[in-house]
Amino acid sequence: MRRRFVVLAAVLLLGWGASAHGAEQLKVGYIATMSGPAASLGTDILDGFKLGIKHCGDQLGGLPVELVVGDDQLKPDVGVQVASRMMEKDKVDIVTGIVFSNVMMAVAGPITDAGLFLISGNAGPSPLAGEGCLPNFFAVSWQNDQTHEAMGKYLQDQGVKTLYLMAPNYQAGKDGLAGVKRYFKGEIVGEVYTKINQPDYAAELTQLRAAKPEAVFVFYPGGMGINFVKQYAQSGLKEEIPLYTTAFTLDQSVLQAMGDAALGLKNSSFWSPDLKNPANEKFVADFKATYQRIPSLFAAQGYDAALLIDSAVRAVNGDLKDQDKLREAFRKADFQSVRGEFKFNHNHFPIQDFYIREVVENEDGVLTNKLLGVAFEDHADAYAAQCPMK
């Protein structure tokens, strides 16, 4: 009875609040690669985002949410088309999602030019962090280089002398290795770029073995990572030369497909399922209960995106008209992030801690990541200085 009263009061209050302050519902556009081989990231982020909405009382910022999902097919021009549909036909208030940098680079301009806020759930390309930073763009994830920088720092701290680098030959791969080199000061004995989506690495592994490095760092996201890690172990290199990488290669969504080959591998990340803070414990437990799997870092990013939007819309009482106020609210990032402390830099990219994790088998026999230590505290990205925004 009492409960019903509270709900009733809330509804009345909300109704009043909405009529007084503009919007009656919040329309969120979610754009990601939802079909084809690269679809799993987009699905993961969306699952996290939906759970975030649920935790905010099936609302965001006190407003009922209508979620519009669009598939960019990993083609920048299709992304622009979908963004145009969301802005002009669906009339969404906020756009989020966007997994891949190339799509992000194509849609960031049109969306923010139209006066909408774009909250990246994943992609954090360097141009948007530096000179091309945008007032209405926020990355709730990371800047592409950051996670790699953390591993570079760790390898430097470990006193590694010679390092061998490998990544796919595309922008994110080059950004990644640049990030490692920014903090690793030892000798780079090899830097190899492989064809994108290359399935077999036998030839490259043979060259790697011949170079006899002290350690190896690779960046291979998704299916490429599964192939690489399996083949690295099968070639016997895993016992000879330690392999280091980032969370994108050893993410929860690919670990089971790697099997024992992934056990014991160290990687850097801004987040881990066993991170100790109340928000994260609630997120991980409820995610497992809802989707019957351990969340990936992509799901964590989606969840945080929902909470960030909730905090900003709540701070302006659902009044989406006043852009400057809403932007200030976003900049405050006043929400309980699953990664603990979270704040935005002046370029709207996060300043956050980075951790070193290790792949272990948990009590259920499922492979997962375990925290080992901290690589960076309050780490900002390398491009912020070039961003003219204050």
Binding site: A39, P199, K230, V254, G259
Partner: protein
């Protein structure tokens, strides 16, 4: 590069070539006998890998996985042939490309619904999980040697089937003159289904062998199908001998290209090779007919 390194890279190239041959042999057979461009050949490869991975995960036995997945893929192939592709033999190549492209989309989504969007795991069988020491300090994964062995054995077997058996005779006759075979009273529809099944079995086998070293995932078929087409075109359509030689050529060119050239050029190597070969011999190296 020192000679030892060249030798190991040669093995790597050979192993890639053998995988390509398993795919190319089936594709070129179907192409040669039924005059069908089957883009969905890669989907059968993917299905082979998924089926084998599932059986292996349930039973823990790689042998059982092979024994079950090959016939299942064969039957799946025959099913597709009987229900859809059979209608396409008389159509022009373009209709075939479109229809089999549609099949790819269909199979990819089917796998995503049945097995989920995340990649699947398949382990290297216990028996072959070690390394073989070629020289002290120089080892090579046994499973990759097994792949080379299986591939060469299949090549030999196919040679025997094509040159020594009645089925082989019909295949050769079909590749040369389709109408004549039908006119001679051979049940041509059955022949087509059997040939397609054989191609599917080979694709499935390739998928099973690839499963332990690669990620079993949606889209794995597309990454190999283009390379396979490159192989059969270089080799000459319908020619198994051409497919064998071309797959070795492509395997070695790709491997050494990756090692020796900058990445932008390495990505182009096989396409340059194909354009070069076709420029020199517009019908491929061993044109089977025409």
């Amino acid at each position: 590069m020192d000679p030892l390194l060249i030798f190991i890279q040669g093995l790597n190239g050979l192993q890639l070539g053998v995988m390509l041959f398993l795919m190319a042999a089936g594709l070129t057979l179907v192409f040669g006998v039924m005059n069908l461009i089957n883009l969905a050949h890669g989907s059968l490869y993917m299905m082979g890998a998924y089926l084998a991975a599932t059986v292996q995960q349930r039973t823990g036995s790689f042998l059982l996985a092979v024994l079950l997945a090959i016939p299942l893929t064969t039957m799946l192939g025959m099913l597709v042939e009987v229900t859809a592709l059979r209608r396409l033999y008389k159509r022009d190549h373009l209709d075939q490309v479109l229809a089999t492209f549609a099949l790819i989309l269909f199979f990819n989504e089917l796998v995503r619904i049945v097995w989920g969007p995340q990649a699947y795991f398949m382990a290297v069988p216990e028996l072959f999980s070690g390394y073989f020491s070629i020289l002290p300090g120089v080892s090579y994964p046994i499973f990759r040697l097994v792949i080379i062995g299986v591939g060469l054995a299949v090549a030999l077997l196919l040679y025997l089937i094509v040159s020594r058996t009645r089925l082989g005779m019909l295949i050769r006759a079909g590749a040369t003159n389709r109408e004549m075979v039908g006119a001679l009273g051979v049940n041509i529809q059955l022949l087509y289904t059997v040939v397609f099944g054989l191609g599917a079995a080979l694709a499935g086998l390739a998928g099973i062998m690839a499963g332990p070293i690669l990620s079993v995932e949606v889209g794995m078929g597309e990454s190999i199908i283009i390379l396979t087409f490159v192989v059969i075109v270089i080799g000459g359509i319908g020619s198994i001998r051409g497919a064998l030689i071309a797959s070795m050529l492509v395997g070695l060119a790709d491997t050494f290209g990756r090692v020796l050239l900058p990445p932008a050029l390495a990505s182009m190597v096989i396409y340059v090779l194909m354009a070069g070969v076709l420029c020199w011999r517009p019908q491929g190296l061993f044109p089977a007919y025409g």
